[in-house]
Symmetry: C3
């Protein structure tokens, strides 16, 4: 059901302090995440191979973790390095270890075959921490829904006209037809709303006139389930590259990591250019507005999920706007099929360290 | 499991105000109920045929409802009349519509084949709003039990001697043998308790003497699951038609609408003649007493349901008093069998407007 | 899954006052426990054989219990002795009765074939109420876990070094190798920790020196799932029979009664000799310490159970310390197999009084 050979966002670096053992379920698997004394992150199966107690109830010791039921110690590769009262430690005593990388304040974990993990393919989100951009990181929403319903939502911006018509959207956006370009494992969408009133949040935060052009250009990455958007609100005629000083430019990052079949982690951040002087205050205000809009999404999507649960066989009737998301689902199916052929289920062995 | 071709009470008219979209599950199906600008009630499947979001999270527009996910609009017949950004609307875009009638402040919905819906068979409950009677309408209890256990309760009044011996019943009623008349799809019960102390609630509310005759005459309607009772508490010897001014006369209406297999809607009202001067105050006091008794029923029936859930195969041992309810169950089985023959499951098509 | 032919602790005598009808689930069966006017305890199936309402929602009348739905009365043998409004009572109207014995303030119930119940095999716990010992009785913990995980915990005291290293254990105990003697249906463990610091709780309560010998001698009884421990903390060299007046001697009793497959009743008591003058105060303090340690167990075991539920097929990897608990599981399997042969399921008939 989920692509395994992918880097998934597992958390924000700020979630893990000195001794933290962070328990997190990803793709239906229970992991414990921590940072060793050497500063490196570790991601292990959160289940002691002895009596299956969670390692996240244990304690960090140096670069290792000790299960606090019977005292077994595991290193970052998942190998058991101590059994109290026992000299010889059999090799089979180990837990699964996952490749893990911290990049731009995000913790990415590779959920598939370790030998395929390639840290250089991790997406660049440098605006989380660079000059010229003000970023609010650390956004998190727990979703009581399958990941696909949320991806569908991001892939059809016509919902801005209805779900968000009191926050970041305007009714006119319900009728916009986007430009869409498909690549191998991603889709680029250009959603343009010309000469129309600014959305409520822009009206509140900026000095833009009563009619604006709006550009939502985003890419959805199927492998890893993340969304990267450049959006611009400019005076009419200024275009996507508008240099008018009142122009609002935003980067939005959203990573959807399946918690399991029924629930999803939604990690997000926003960054903006310095379109007004009191940037810090603006960042907070903007984040409040975006966070509200994301909650609007969550409400309708969780309601949709409950509705589907109540009638699992109810068919969905396609409309013209569904073209993109339907094609993305077919692309995902192809990628899943290819992965199943290349990486038979038996290739990933829980309990065998990387 | 449930008769489909029947009018079921779906709610009280007071539950639906100007813009209300009332979500209600009936017989395992999710409906949205609203009143159009034209004053007519509408009952639709509560699941947009596009992406299955609940219509009850949308908004009423005139006589229609708009899904507030992607903006589709449906009229009262369930037909989609608007898809934002799309000119042609295929006929298959529709949701199921249910016949609905408001009568005497109750909203009745027909859950079966629409062509069989006959509003003239809806039960007359004119005392909800007529001279000579004071009524408290709007009673509602959510039951965590199957509908049948509640029907059984109403069909055997010997429980008044035990469940209600501190409210509306007296111990003597535990031994009463009722007169029972069966009709095609209903049963009429005359439960008479002569020359005995009045129940606690009558003692509190009326000036009747310390010994009274009590007549509980009720009809249980199998199709639609409702109960209509005339009850009289009169001075000894006055009889059911007693004209003594201290006589207490009540109408009780209870409609049991299955929410699903496990839960039930219990709608109820009480009305009484003007047996004392301060009628309004009396109505409220009486309603409090009756409501308390209905909660006594709920407590024992929900406990019974939990007990059955814990031991689904435990047999029930019949006693003499069970004759009526056992025969009613057999009548229901016959009616269900007849409906299954006449209306094969395929005859009712979700997603096809009436 | 559970041995039926065994005495299980069902509760403490103090849980049942004059009119109490105590509902308690044991081994997946719902029982009602009460004490008749004659002072004798009664244990019946908590499900009226008429309409399956719980008898525990009824009322005690003399030595009997009346169902407060339709008024049937059952005596201590489970026979129905009254049906309101009906003269003849068929023999089939009865509920199952369980042998029950009160002994040393504990209520023991026999869950298997009544003819095999032998009260003389009930374990002696006289220290609950005898000279020379101060006891705190009445301990109870509800566990959200299968009984076996708790039994495993009690059978491997090496967890004292980790789970309890801030309460009743010391790290050194993680490495102790116990002496173990197996009998037919029990196992005796001698867990000895010589010349080491006293555990935190002893340090707080006694005047023992900074180095002590510690003896945890306990027997686990497979039939009935209970644990009886004599433990001694003595000055170094004093031995298990130390007569030094600072020696701390404790009796601990723990009975694990399966509530069902997923939950467990944990009844416990502690008793101690008079090792200091203010015995009553000490008893309370000691009990607080022990209770805290038992909560430490509950936390790790419930976490372990959740972890197992999340990955039911995850294998457990044995370490050297697991020898005892693995052998006990095999002994239990043999006993279960023998019981299945001797007492086919049909031999215990719910609804047939003993």
């Amino acid at each position: 059901m989920f692509l395994k050979n992918a880097w998934y966002v597992a958390g924000w670096d700020t979630e893990i302090h000195a001794d933290t053992l962070l328990a997190r379920r990803l793709l239906g698997e229970d992991l414990v995440l921590f940072r060793g004394e050497n500063g490196l992150f570790v991601a292990l199966e959160d289940r002691c191979c002895h009596r299956l107690a969670p390692l996240s109830k244990g304690q960090r010791e140096g670069n290792n973790v000790r299960c606090m039921y019977h005292g077994l110690v595991f290193d970052g590769s998942g190998r058991c390095v101590e059994v109290p009262g026992q000299d010889r430690i059999p090799e089979r005593l180990c837990v699964r270890s996952y490749p893990v990388v911290e990049r731009d304040h995000l913790i990415w974990v590779w959920m598939g075959r370790p030998e395929l993990a390639t840290p250089d393919t991790i997406h660049d989100t440098h605006w989380h921490d660079c000059p010229g951009w003000q970023a609010e990181r650390g956004g998190y929403i727990h979703y009581e829904s399958n990941v696909q319903l949320i991806a569908d939502n991001l892939l059809d911006f016509s919902h801005l006209g209805f779900v968000h018509n009191r926050s970041i959207g305007t009714r006119k956006q319900g009728n916009v037809r986007p430009d869409v370009d498909f690549a191998d494992e991603s889709v680029a969408v250009r959603f343009t709303t010309l000469d129309s009133p600014p959305p409520p949040f822009v009206r509140e935060l900026s000095t833009l006139p009563e009619s604006v052009d709006r550009f939502n250009y985003y890419v959805w990455h199927i492998r890893g389930n993340y969304f990267v958007q450049d959006s611009v609100v400019a005076p009419v005629g200024g275009g996507y590259d508008s240099t008018d000083p009142t122009t609002v430019k935003l980067h939005t990052f959203i990573a959807l990591t399946p918690r399991d079949e029924h629930t999803t982690h939604y990690f997000w951040s926003t960054a903006h250019n310095e379109f007004c002087s009191s940037a810090q205050e603006l960042t907070s205000k903007l984040t409040v507005q975006v966070a509200r809009a994301f909650q609007e999404d969550r409400e309708i999507i969780e309601a949709q999920q409950r509705s589907i649960n109540a009638a699992p066989d109810a068919p969905m009737g396609a409309i013209a706007a569904d073209g993109t998301l339907l094609r993305v689902r077919r692309m995902l199916d192809v990628m899943l099929g290819r992965e199943a052929q290349e990486s038979p289920a038996s290739a990933v062995q829980p309990g065998v360290p990387a």
